[in-house]
């Protein structure tokens, strides 16, 4: 090789090294950009269709994690440590060799990690105790979960890709929320409506059924009612089958089974929907029957059913003190009441709509797919709390069908569904904290300024601390 060839080879090598370095930097910039904007490319979303089984596996792994890290004081023997943990029905999952006395402890009751750590900290043998915090990547968008339900792409409320002229991102950030939880079948949510088609193939696995240890409902006039799966306040019997469609639509928004390769998904992939019927085939009902149905929910709660939310997609401008009193009783029993703000395009602060204008109720306005207040929606800077997608919403319908419907009726179960997700993730959350969490987990929108009290659209990921 002569001197010229040698220099050319050296130059080529230097160029190649520079190109490789630049390509590496480009990849780093690209990664940083994705992490910052938290938007996932459409093709990547399509690839990550998750079934219920896959999500269950992720959640099971999370449950098996040790809850607390406890450092015992020097001199505390292993047998004493084992004795203490056994007393709490815990077990030492691992000892950290590099820090003498430090143990990862698994609470076999899966109790709240903060409370478990506090219990250890109170012991004289313990130097310190802390929850085993999840350490998560800042890039949540790298792990959103897209369900395998074939019509999910039509559910703009959950994931708005700009379909049909909508605004990208004008949704409740459901996919990011589902990276935390997809719901829990320990959570019961009452759908107080025209009943629910409990045989719909996208709902039947998520319908509440009275556990054997809960006694039948006893009504003062009708006597014992064998309430196997809800209650019909019109006929005062045990069959809450929907003959209108409205209740079935609302139920699907809350909890159509997710990841089952059928139809759509609800805000909750799994949950227990308690069907209640007080509106007839025409879609209307009396205040008295609404009260009877709420009374049923309170009774079931008092008998140990874990009802956390009532979703009420109905109303009128007539005020009823009896209805308000009953809703207050539900609140006292720890049941959050979420209601539709109404569809008269009017200001509820001037012309109240009930039950949404009662104080112990979260009133919900409706948004369209462009994050604008829907043309039909009521509003109220004082008496309407929050907004949620409520126009052109696809959900379950009678006859194993699906239909698109609009109304604050459709926005209400979105908020109720997010409340159920929060309760699934934090089973011990109080009703006051649950209400507060919902009202502080919004994306503020200019279109809602002076229209709803929070000024924003519900964001499920924020409610779960995932954003």
């Amino acid at each position: 090789m002569n001197r010229n060839n040698f220099l050319i080879h050296i130059a080529l090598a230097v160029v190649l090294i520079l190109v490789a370095a630049f390509a590496g930097q480009l990849r780093r910039w690209q990664h940083e950009y994705k992490a910052r904007v938290r938007i996932m490319p459409a093709e990547e979303k399509t690839r990550r269709a998750a079934t219920t089984a896959e999500v269950a596996e992720i959640e099971a792994r999370a449950l098996a994690r040790p809850e607390v890290l406890v450092k015992f004081k020097p001199g505390i023997s292993d047998s004493t440590i084992r004795h203490i943990t056994a007393k709490f029905n815990d077990r030492v999952e691992d000892s950290i060799e590099s820090v003498r006395g430090l143990n990862a402890i698994d609470d076999l009751d899966d109790a709240d990690a903060v409370q478990t750590a506090a219990a250890y900290l109170a012991l004289p043998e313990v130097e310190y105790a802390e929850p085993n915090y999840d350490i998560e990547l800042d890039d949540f968008a790298s792990n959103p979960i897209r369900p395998s339900d074939p019509r999910f792409s039509d559910q703009w409320a959950l994931a708005n890709d700009g379909q049909r002229g909508g605004k990208q991102g004008a949704d409740i950030s459901a996919m990011n929320a589902w990276s935390v939880t997809t719901g829990d079948d320990d959570i019961v949510i009452a759908v107080l409506d025209s009943g629910v088609d409990y045989n719909h193939s996208d709902l039947e696995n998520n319908i509440w059924r009275r556990p054997a240890n809960v006694p039948e409902f006893v009504d003062d006039t009708a006597g014992t009612i064998q309430d196997l799966q809800g209650y019909n306040a019109i006929n005062n019997d045990a069959d809450p089958m929907d003959d209108n469609g409205h209740g079935t639509h609302c139920a699907g928004i809350i909890g159509a089974e997710g990841g089952n390769d059928i139809g759509i998904t609800g805000v909750n992939w799994k949950v227990r929907i308690m069907p209640l019927k007080f509106m007839n085939a025409g879609g209307y009902g009396t205040t008295k029957d609404a009260i009877e149905a709420i009374n049923y929910v309170i009774d079931r709660k008092n008998h140990g059913v874990n009802v956390r939310v009532i979703s009420a997609s109905w109303g009128s401008t007539m005020r009823s003190q009896a209805l308000e009193d009953t809703i207050n009783k539900a609140y006292e029993a720890g049941i959050l009441f979420v209601a539709a703000a109404g569809n008269a395009s009017t200001d509820n602060d001037r012309r109240p709509h009930y039950p949404s204008s009662f104080p112990n109720v979260i009133a919900v306005a409706a948004l369209d797919r462009n994050d604008k207040l829907a043309s039909f929606s009521n509003w109220g800077a004082k008496h309407v709390a929050i907004a949620a997608p409520g126009a052109e919403i696809l959900s379950t319908w009678l006859g194993d069908e699906y239909e698109e419907k609009s109304g604050t009726s459709m926005a209400t179960p979105v908020v109720a569904g997010v409340a159920a997700l929060v309760a699934a993730n934090e089973p011990r959350i109080s009703i006051d904290d649950l209400r507060k969490r919902i009202l502080t987990s919004v994306d503020k929108l200019d279109s809602l300024k002076s229209k709803v009290a929070t000024g924003g659209r519900i964001n499920a990921a924020k409610a779960l601390g995932a954003q």
Binding site: D193, N235, G283, A340, G407
Partner: protein
Amino acid sequence: MRVGWSFVASDLCRTIKMSYSKEDALSKARHDLARRLGVKEHDVREDAVEEADFPDTSLGAGTDDEMSGQMITRGWRIKLQANNRTYEYRADRNQVRLYDFNGKNFLL
């Protein structure tokens, strides 16, 4: 079709099964208006019958002590004329209602 129903408050929400066509609804409305005004049915003139979206499942014509689903509901707006006045009925396949008759709504 079941016609001539007369609801009182306690009957309002017994489970109902019916299905109106547009023609059924128009016929029921015409009959109702003639009866209310004390005129013959052929003196009630059809002004307009058009499809419309109503704000709720009571077609925006709810009666006292009635709660309705807050879902936009497609139906028919039926305008009838009699005694030189126009009266509005609202209907869908489940119901026929008289809207704002002397300040009140009526479920037929």
